[in-house]
Symmetry: C2
Subunit: 413 residues, 2 copies
Amino acid sequence: MTHTPEALDASALDAADPLGAYRSRFLGADDPAIPAYLDGNSLGRPVATLPEAFSSFITEQWGGRLIRGWDESWLELPTRLGDRLGRAVLGAAPGQTVVADSTTVSLYKLLRTALHARPDRHEIVIDRGNFPTDRFVVEGVAAETGARIRWIETEQGSGATLADAAAVIGDATAVVVLSQVAYRSGYLADVPGITALAHEHGALVLWDLCHSVASVPIELDTWGVDLATGCTYKYLNGGPGSPAFLYVSSALLADAGARQPIWGWMGDRDPFAMADGYVPAEGIRRFVSGTPPVVGMIAMQEMLGLIEEVGIKAIRTKSLALTDFAIALVDERLAPLGVVLSTPREHEMRGSHVTIDHPAFAGMMGELWARGVIPDFRAPTGIRLGLSPLSTSFAEVEVTVEEIRGLLAASVA
Amino acid sequence: MTHTPEALDASALDAADPLGAYRSRFLGADDPAIPAYLDGNSLGRPVATLPEAFSSFITEQWGGRLIRGWDESWLELPTRLGDRLGRAVLGAAPGQTVVADSTTVSLYKLLRTALHARPDRHEIVIDRGNFPTDRFVVEGVAAETGARIRWIETEQGSGATLADAAAVIGDATAVVVLSQVAYRSGYLADVPGITALAHEHGALVLWDLCHSVASVPIELDTWGVDLATGCTYKYLNGGPGSPAFLYVSSALLADAGARQPIWGWMGDRDPFAMADGYVPAEGIRRFVSGTPPVVGMIAMQEMLGLIEEVGIKAIRTKSLALTDFAIALVDERLAPLGVVLSTPREHEMRGSHVTIDHPAFAGMMGELWARGVIPDFRAPTGIRLGLSPLSTSFAEVEVTVEEIRGLLAASVA
C-alpha cells in the first residue's frame, strides 16, 4: 500500500512532525549554505554532541586513562556496542554482534565462515544487482575456494524478490548473500521469506544491512538470520569510514565448524597470555581479529543514544512519511518532465531512500551540489533522495525536488 | 656499543635535551596524577592539537562538506597518508603504502599475497617469539592454505637474529614473517641482513614494524623489503585502535601474481562505476578493501606533523639517550635487588623500550598504576619501560625506576 499526503505542504508536515525537534540535535542542520542534505543514507550528519564527546574522550579517556583505558572499557567495546546495536536496531539478543573492521572485511569473514560451516556445498547465491563490494568479495572468495557463484539476474541495485531467490537457491547452495535494502532502488527485500526459503534448502543466509539498519525494522533473531553485517556511517551517523557491525546467530556460534579465517590476538581466548597457539574465544568474540578501532566507534554511540530515545518504530513511521512525500512530489512535479520513479511505491517494499532517473541528471549534479542541495548520483541516470528520519525535514525534500525541477525545466527549454 | 650517561641526573638531562620542549605538545604530560607514563610504546599520548583538530573535522569537514568530503579529500586519504608515512618514517617512495584496516587484517592480506606470489613454495618462516597476532595469522593462513610453518625457536618476545633465521630459511620458504623490534625484549632485528638472506633463497619478507615505526630508522626501499605493516597507535600516537599502514614494494606490485584476497569496492579500478566484475586497481590501491576509516586517521596526522618537524634521526638520538639512561638506572638501583635486564645493551640491537624482569613484578603493577606510574607488564615477570622520544622525559624514567625500587625493597623487607 502507498499513502499520498493530503496536501504537499512541507511546512505543515514539519510543524506536525513529532520527531521534528530532533533535527536540531545534528550539526549543520540549519547551515544556510546547505539548504537540503539528502545523502544521510550515505553519510549521516554529525550529532551535535560530537565535538564535546571527542574532546572529552581525548582529554579524559585517552589522555587521562592512557593505556589503562583498554582494561577499563575499550577491550569490551566491540561486544558491548554490538549488544547495544542488537537491542536498539537489529532485533538481536546479546552475544551475537560485534563492531569491528570495515563492511568489506566483515563480509569476507562471514562468507568464509558460511562456506566452512557448509563444507559439503559449493555454491554461493548473490544477486547481480547487489552492491559492488558484496559482489567483489563473493568473486574473490569464489576464486580462492573454488566455490561456484549462482547469480540472481536482477538489474543493478534493484534487489531480489522471493521468486527471484527461489529460482536459484537449491540443495547445493551453501550461502545466500543479499541486501535488505537495495543500494540503488531502495527496494526492501523479504528477509524472513528468503531466509526461510534458504533454510528449507539447508543453506545459510548472509544479509547486508548497510542501506537499511536504523531506518527499517530488523528482527534478526525472530527471522532466524544466520549472518549479517552493515555500515554504521549511514543511518547510524558514525562518521566517514566508521567500523561495521557483524552478527552471527547463537545457533551458528554453537557450531564449531563456524570459524572465521583471520585469526588475530583479539579473537583469541586469552589475548594477554601471549601463549603459543591460537584458541578461538567462545562466542562472538572469536569474530574479532585486530585491536578494536575505538576512536572510530565514538560517533555512532552518540547517534545510538538518539535512536534509543525515539525507538525504531517511530523512526520507520517518519521514514515512510518522508518517502511518501518525496514520491508524491516527484509524481506531481518531476514526472511531467520525464522523470521516472525507480523505487517501489508499496510501503512494505521500500527502505528510506527514493531513487529517480532521468538522462539529464548526470549533467546536473555539479550545479545542485554547488547550490548546497545534496542528494547523490548513481550512474548512469539516477538521483537518490536519501531521507534520514531523525535529521531530514520535509522542507529539505521539497527544496531538492524544486531545484531539480528548475534545472530540468531549464535544460529542456 | 653502549653508553652510560656521565651522571644519572634526570634534571640535567632534561634541561639539556634539544627535544625537551616537545613534551608540552602532548596532552596530559604535566598531569600531576600521572607522574610517569612509560607506555607510549603501546598507546602514545594524544597530541595537544587534537581536540581542535577533531572539532574542526566534525564541524567543517564532516558537518560542512558532508558527502562531498569523499571526493574532495577522504577517498585519497589512504594513499596520501601512506605516502606521507613512507617519506617521514618508512623510507618508502610514494605509491607503495596505504593506511587501512587493523594490523591483523593487513598481516592476513600480505601473507596471502606472499603465498600467491610464490605459488611453488609452501613454507612460512616465523619466530616463536613473535607477537601473538602475527603467529595466529600465520597459523590461520597455514590451516586454510596447507602451507607449512617453520618456526624459529626463540624465546617469547625475544626476536630472531640473522643466525637464527639462516638456520631455518631455505629454498622451500615462500615468506619470512618477523618483527623489526621484538614486542617484549625490545631487540632490534637486522632487517637488511635477514631480508638479503631471504632473497638469496628466493623467499619474500614480511616485516612487522608495530614496535619500531617512528622510533628507529627504517629504509624499506633501500633494504629491499617486499612487504611490511605496522600499528599507528604506538609511536605514531594515532589513538586506540587507529588503522594500520601496509607497504608493498613497487617490484612486487608490478607482479600480477601479487594479489590480496579481500576484494572490495575501494580496491577496484573504478569504485563508482558499480560495474560487473572486480578489476583490481593499478598499484597499491588494490590493497585497500573497504571504505577508508577516515575518523581513525585524524590523530596520526597531527603526530606526523611533529615527526616531520623533528626528523627520525633526532628522534632516534633521543630514544637511545632515554634507553641508555633507563639501563644505567636499572644497573645502579634495581640490579642489586635481583632485577634482570632483558633488553640488549648494544645500541644497534635496541629499539625504544627497555624490559626488566623480576618475579615480584606481577604483584606490583596494581600499586604502580594506582600511583600514576604507568609502564606495562608482560607475563610472566616483565615490566616494559616504553620510551616515546617526543613525549617521555628523563624525569619520568627516574620516577618509574625509583617507584619500582621502593616497592621491591618493601616486598623484600
